[in-house]
Symmetry: C2
Subunit: 107 residues, 2 copies
């Protein structure tokens, strides 16, 4: 299995800026849909659909309380993104090393 396989569609889920903003919002704590929707200039169904996408890839979980649905961040799937992108850290780190060595050799 390659490094890329199995990441499913978490990458696709966070490709949308609105969904990333929703995750950022939920990092403050769980919130009902209306409150989530408030900062966005977008219909409520649109937000609901974005939440469905996030739900499907398990980036959020749902809790029902009365007629409200509280959505909560579930960060675990982001580990896949973190792991994938972390691999590339060495490359910009390497570049820093090159610069560092250059500065050492040319004081």
């Amino acid at each position: 299995m390659s490094r890329t396989t199995g990441n499913a569609d978490v990458f696709a889920a966070i490709a949308d800026p609105t969904r990333r903003a929703i995750l950022d919002l939920l990092s403050q704590g769980e919130q009902p849909v209306k409150q989530i929707a408030q900062p966005f200039s977008m219909s409520l169904p649109a937000i609901s659909q974005h939440l469905s996408v996030l739900c499907e890839v398990k980036l959020v979980t749902q809790r029902k309380e009365g007629r409200q649905r509280f959505y909560r961040l579930n960060p675990e799937p982001l580990k896949q993104v973190f792991n994938w992108v972390s691999y590339y850290e060495q490359f910009w780190q390497d570049k820093l090393d090159v610069l560092g060595n250059y500065l050492e050799d040319n004081p």
Copy 2:
């Protein structure tokens, strides 16, 4: 400026598994298009188009040599992804802490 703004479409670029695989491939070093295309069951134009997308968000650079085009990984834009996702590290770290505290309190 929110944490999400300015990430441009790097997130969209890496949403596609083929493009992630291409980046993985190029992490081994620069390669001409034909060599990049080889592991994929996809037409050459398809790969060329994927490379264009990666080029547009500056995740790869091009070098022309004879009739070959060598593509090289440029990891810098991935920092945006790294920075965004790193913020969430605390949340799965926090969960570990919660577990850690629980284990401490319940030896």
